[in-house]
Amino acid sequence: MIIIVSLGLLAIILVINLFYNRRTKDLEERNKELMVLTAENTKAYEQLRNTSNLLIEANRKLKELDIIKDDFVSIASHELRTPMTAIRSYAWMVLHRSNVPLPDNVEKYLVRISISTERMINLVNDMLNISRIESGRIEIKPEPVDLISLGKDIVDEVYYSKSTAKNIKFILLEEKLPKIFADPEKLRQVFLNILGNALKFSSNGGKITISFFTDGRTIETRIKDEGPGLAREDLGRLFKKFGRLDNSYTSVATSGGTGLGLYISKNLIELMKGRIWATSEGLGKGSTFTFALPVASPEVIKHADQYFVKAKGEAKSLEPAAIVV
């Protein structure tokens, strides 16, 4: 009897043992798998940390490069302007201080040297401005601005410096307007650029009309010329970098334009939470450039901080806008 019970117990123990052995093997196997996984995880984590460190380092290097690029652009443009100033100065000297009368063709050549040098200087200035805008070095400090008096100042400036030769008539339609909320320096730059373009594309004896329109929330400044006008399909291209239209005037070479002015203007207006666009009734029918900026209403003044733009790093001012006839 006892033997039977013992055998039975033994059998049970053997079965249990067998069972446990298998479990243990299973567990050992899973343990092994887990250890492999852990090792892989650790490896992956380490790789991630390395990548992360590499990225931090790359980012730091990029920032450094950005500063070097900025300095480089700044110094290169300064170095470029020195010889260009010398070329322009000596051409001026021959044109204005010559002790012998110049033959007509020599005078023409010198005028072309002067215009081309002027163009290069404008190009350097515009490229500097773009570099500052694109790297966020421009700050916007808006304040209430009287558009009419600013408009008059700019017309005076353009009129006396540039337009007498072409006998262009400026008309500024005055009306009672609320002030707008904009950065005066940037607004001036845009105004000068648009008015300068209107002047450039006007033929002798032409008329440029500046008018204003307000719906109470924004004021639109409209600058209309009687120049060659714009084709509908070209309207969108105007505000792109080097978006100058070849068919809009006959000789690029006689214009001191850079093809960057409207791109800069668009960027500045948008930084001031405004909009800028062009319309034309078609080729030969003149064009109108309009920029809309917010009225300095109590509501806008209350949220004035939303209209300020801080510069990334050291804030830089704009190089002067080119006005070319």
Binding site: R88, Y90, E314, K316
Partner: protein, 125 residues
Amino acid sequence: MNKKILIVEDDQFLREFYQELLTGEGYTVDMAEEGEIALSKIQNNPYDLVLLDIMLPKKDGVQILNDLKAKGPKTPNVIIVVLTNLEQDLMIKKCFDLGAEGYLIKSALNPDQVLTEIKSYLNRA
């Protein structure tokens, strides 16, 4: 009557250009092509006006203004006008703080405009 002007400019062509331009207007013109000579000339000669470049060998325009502020020029009321192609708000402010009376950008002005500016500074004195 015959006003004395010092031109401080390291670019030879520009230096000689301004010299010719101003001599042509009847001014007595002296020149310096680097900062140390410029400073000693300003300290030893009675100029009415100095046209001062910023980027110069040996001693830059800002250091010259600094030294002049500390030690003083030969003529106490000499007019210092910065004439440069460097155009940065900070630099302009610094120069005015250090006693410069004008800041002209070479590439932004034609020679006629430079002359007009110089005449107006001299008439103010």
